[in-house]
């Protein structure tokens, strides 16, 4: 079964283009300097339209997660993490933690993680893995 994939909109296309090119792109407000996610062409903090796209470091920490024991058919058959990482720039992002056992012992809150892109054809998804793994 094909993986459920996002359908980009005009406001988010740059983010998915960035993933395809191996870059995690965030936006920030040039008026109030707030970094934010998910993408939109204005600042959700102050409402300014003066915003810019920039390349994030792709690093952060594991903020919270569940291990889903009833995986969706497009994901697989084994229990897997559905996580939120706190990026070093501030925004939170849902993802899967990969390249490590999908267990509470291996998935420690606050552990450093880094982005790992995986190509699914039209779309490349940003996953995260333990830093240095």
């Amino acid at each position: 079964m094909d993986r459920v994939l996002p359908q980009p909109t005009p406001e988010t296309q740059h983010f998915w283009d960035g993933c395809k090119a191996g870059e995690l792109l965030l936006q920030r407000c040039t008026d109030c300097t707030k970094s934010y996610f998910p993408p939109r062409p204005f600042c959700p903090k102050c409402g300014s339209r003066k915003v810019e796209v920039y390349k994030a470091a792709g690093t952060g920490k594991l903020w919270s997660y569940v291990i889903n024991h009833r995986p969706r058919p497009d994901i697989g058959t084994e229990p897997h993490s559905i996580a939120v990482v706190m990026l070093d720039e501030g925004p939170q992002m849902m993802t899967n933690i990969v390249d490590c056992p999908q267990t509470p012992e291996a998935l420690q809150l606050d552990m450093p993680v880094e982005v790992k892109f995986q190509d699914f054809g039209q779309i490349t998804l940003p996953f995260f893995k333990p830093a240095g793994a």
Partner: protein, 383 residues
């Protein structure tokens, strides 16, 4: 707003509850509505305002033969009915209508005549569709639960503290003949139940059952003429935060809970210490913990101990989720209606697990995955 001029004069659930294979969704709404109308001696033609979620108010009004001058289809998940009470109070005060019927019906288990229903998320191009769905969430059990490991770490709570919520609510359910699950359970039972989405086992997740409920509101002045003792609306609150649980501002606290709760308490002019009975929508075992803290009943970090020390249990100083809650009583999908039904039963003095002398009850609801919130403060004494 002059919320205190409005009261609930009729309230009822569907005739049956739990597994109902012979009623479609719209008939569950109607069955509850007819029971609530009978409860207060009204006919459908006496109703001039309708509100519902899951179904459109147009479908509801047509099916029951109501010609409303006010309709509200606010649909923000399971707390929609709290928002309907709030909006209806404003509408009655403004003279837009006199007598409002609010209904819920959902064939959550049997799926008879069930269409979509609210599950959050959305299509592949919505923000949740693009930035959450690709990572494998399967509805609320694997989404609503995502902030919880962070919350437990911040507060110093354990997974057993979650299990304990389910254990104490089962004690309440044992006193309720209409509860789906009545057998006693222990913390070990909850911890050892089938894993759904770590750290949540099956017994930390709500039931999926069939049922409905309806409430009829009118001005406090007219309420005196009805057969039942009115239950007055003292204060109301509502808010929304985000359709994406991953973007919740603080994983340790719901902004929608805080905003909605504060509005309701400020409007009622009371403090948490004045509350005799509390309902906190418990789709999952963590919600009563968040609710106790975000509504001001407990300081952050004290909610788990408050429950462990049996303050919310039978005989405790703050009886909580006295019908057994979504974990043990029933959960059709949008449970907020049942939380309010139990508040109204308690204040009318007809609850199966009656809290002696309860005068003020709070019904606090959640919609989506911490996406929305509604709070209603009720009293059986005229303000």
């Amino acid at each position: 707003m002059k919320q205190k001029t409005v009261a609930a004069v009729g309230a009822a659930e569907t005739t049956e509850l739990g597994k109902i294979t012979d009623m479609s969704v719209i008939q569950l709404h109607a069955d509850a509505a007819l029971n609530a109308l009978a409860d207060c001696g009204l006919k459908p033609s006496d109703i001039d305002g309708v509100a519902t979620a899951g179904l459109s108010p147009t479908e509801l009004a047509y099916y029951l033969g109501i010609t409303p001058t006010w309709a509200d289809g606010t649909s923000v998940g399971g707390c929609s009915f709290m928002l309907h009470v709030r909006h209806a109070a404003a509408a009655i005060n403004e003279g837009l209508c006199k007598t409002v019927l609010i209904t819920h019906g959902e064939s959550g288990r049997s799926r008879v005549g069930a269409g979509g229903g609210f599950r959050g998320g959305g299509g592949g191009s919505s923000l949740p569709g693009q930035f959450e769905a690709p990572y494998g969430p399967v509805g609320p059990p694997s989404m609503f639960t995502i902030p919880v490991l962070r919350y437990l770490k911040t507060r110093g709570y354990s997974i057993e503290d979650l299990a304990n919520v389910a254990v104490i609510q089962r004690e309440w359910a044992a006193k309720n003949p209409r509860a789906s699950m009545k057998d006693p359970i222990t913390v070990d039972d909850v911890m050892n139940a089938r894993m759904i989405a770590y750290p949540f086992t099956l017994l930390m997740c709500c039931l999926v059952t069939d049922g409905g409920g309806a409430i009829i509101l009118t001005s406090a002045e007219r309420a005196k003429d009805f057969p039942r003792k009115p239950v007055y609306v003292l204060g109301t609150g509502e808010s929304v935060e985000t359709p994406m649980v991953s973007q919740m501002e603080d994983f340790n606290s719901s902004k929608a809970f805080r905003v909605s709760g504060k509005k309701a308490f400020d409007e009622a002019g009371i403090r948490p210490a004045d509350v005799d009975h509390l309902m906190i929508y418990d789709a999952f075992a963590h919600l009563p913990l968040y609710g106790l803290e975000d509504l001001g009943f407990c300081k952050p970090g004290e909610a788990a101990g408050f429950i462990r020390e049996r303050n919310t249990a039978i005989g405790g100083k703050l009886p909580l989720n006295t019908n057994g809650g979504g974990l043990s009583y029933m959960h059709s999908g949008m449970y907020g209606m049942y939380a309010m039904q139990e508040s109204l039963r308690q204040l009318r003095g007809i609850a199966p697990a009656q809290v002696p002398g309860a005068k003020i009850s709070v019904s606090h609801g959640v919609g989506g995955m911490f996406g929305a919130s509604g709070t209603i403060i009720w009293s059986n004494e005229a303000p």
